[in-house]
Point group: D2
Chain length 157, copies 4
């Protein structure tokens, strides 16, 4: 009953591999908790190393999670042997990133041959209560026929 | 010859203190390289721990630098005993974050009693060449009469 | 079973009055088709006078509809005697604005005393098929204790 | 001394023709006042038909001017026989659109084969004083080898 039909039969393995290749995700403690065609949830535990001046998680870290969720969600729908880059995103910060655990949930709004638009929401779990803390809308670009390896560039071509 | 007149005579010390209180900046290796009323430059060295799948610096990390530059630039113009929070920002990624060193340069476009709009640009220094890699426009909010300590919240009130 | 509880018992009359006071809405042929606390739908018929070079409705016109939907949705939740202004918005254009009729549907994501965040989607009705053509996320500001009349300014204070 | 080298020797005629083909620009009273490779200024007179509830020009109208300036600026750098569409834009509203005349000034920040990023600023001229009232950053897409005629679609392909 998926909303989207993946073009890459190995979308799951390819997406996980691309995600795991990002060392920044390891540094920030972000991991995949759910992966479907066009939909991705990421999870992150609180870490004092990632806080801003009030002890909450830094907006840049929240944005990194939202951006990755948007990107991997878009990537699940791209054909094999395709590279991906982020074109732009916008984040609205709605509430303090206060919690023990955070979730970044993205869904593709409009897939495309070249450009895909994703939306994501960030949630904080604090004392058993989940709060919406940030939103993102972003544009991702497919680089057809190019591998996703380190020779690939992350920029509009 | 400053474009802006700070309302806080201690804007420099207050701004540096607020910046230093962000542990995420330490984790990401971002520091202040220039601070004037309404203008801030941050600097960051390359680190393999902050990379995406192609070995370039992750967009979320670039965004963290841009957001902080925008925020501190706005903060330099706020009155004493004022808290600050980020309302929103948008980032365009123009080129891969490939380099040995990165700069985030922000300037206030429109200061305000409640809301301030800042713009920032991120540059990569690679083999002696500086390249514009990303832009940000963002809105910051002053929380008048509130301290900047950890009891403060980062959210629209 | 409304998600939101309006603070202004006359929110309906006040919101409609504010909408009707916008002469640009008359020029663009945009009207209110549904109004609930925190939720607004606007409608617009196709007009050749509003087209871009390919005969579709111009993105600026679509944005005007989205912005108004976001603004009125936020306004329904504000207290009496409050002015409103748009702080910022971002629009993603997903498909050509081709159709006989268009709908702009907004909902408040996060109401606040000072700032409210709304999201909206634009749809085109063409040959009986409805297509999502654009999205917006926007920030609205309440100017407490100020009337909404023409002496009010549309700008961060 | 232009910053950019146009790929279309007829960029001027082609850009003006594309602009003039937009009937919405005539309805809004927006015209080209300056056109260089990668840089465009548009002008608009005040009209009571374009106002919001406080008698200032509606944000959607300001956005239409900014969007067109960004688009035409990008279009001047595209090859012949190329269609253009707007992918996304974000607008910050800084001051009320109060004045007798308005200017929309755009410049290309990053040209590209597929995507181009432009920035624009809107100014109000009121009683001889020019005020910055809004900013935009936007992404434009080139549709290579396609004409700009009415069969073209305004959407990510």
């Amino acid at each position: 009953m998926a909303r989207f039909q993946p073009k890459n039969p190995d979308y799951r393995a390819t997406s996980i591999e691309t995600f795991e290749a990002q060392r920044a995700m390891k540094t920030l403690g972000i991991s995949i908790s759910r992966l479907e065609p066009g939909e991705v949830d990421l999870a992150m535990d609180y870490s004092a190393n990632l806080t801003q001046q009030h002890g909450f998680i830094h907006a840049g870290v929240i944005t990194a999670g939202l951006d990755n969720a948007c990107g991997i969600a878009a990537f699940t729908l791209m054909p094999p042997a395709t590279g991906i880059l982020t074109v732009e995103f916008k984040t609205n910060l709605l509430a303090p990133a206060r919690g023990e655990r955070f979730a970044f949930r993205a869904t593709v709004i409009k897939p495309g041959r070249t450009l895909t638009v994703s939306e994501a929401r960030a949630y904080a779990m604090h004392d058993g209560v989940e709060t919406l803390i940030a939103t993102m809308s972003g544009t991702l670009m497919a680089l057809a026929g190019r591998p996703t390896g380190p020779e690939e560039i992350r920029a509009p071509a």
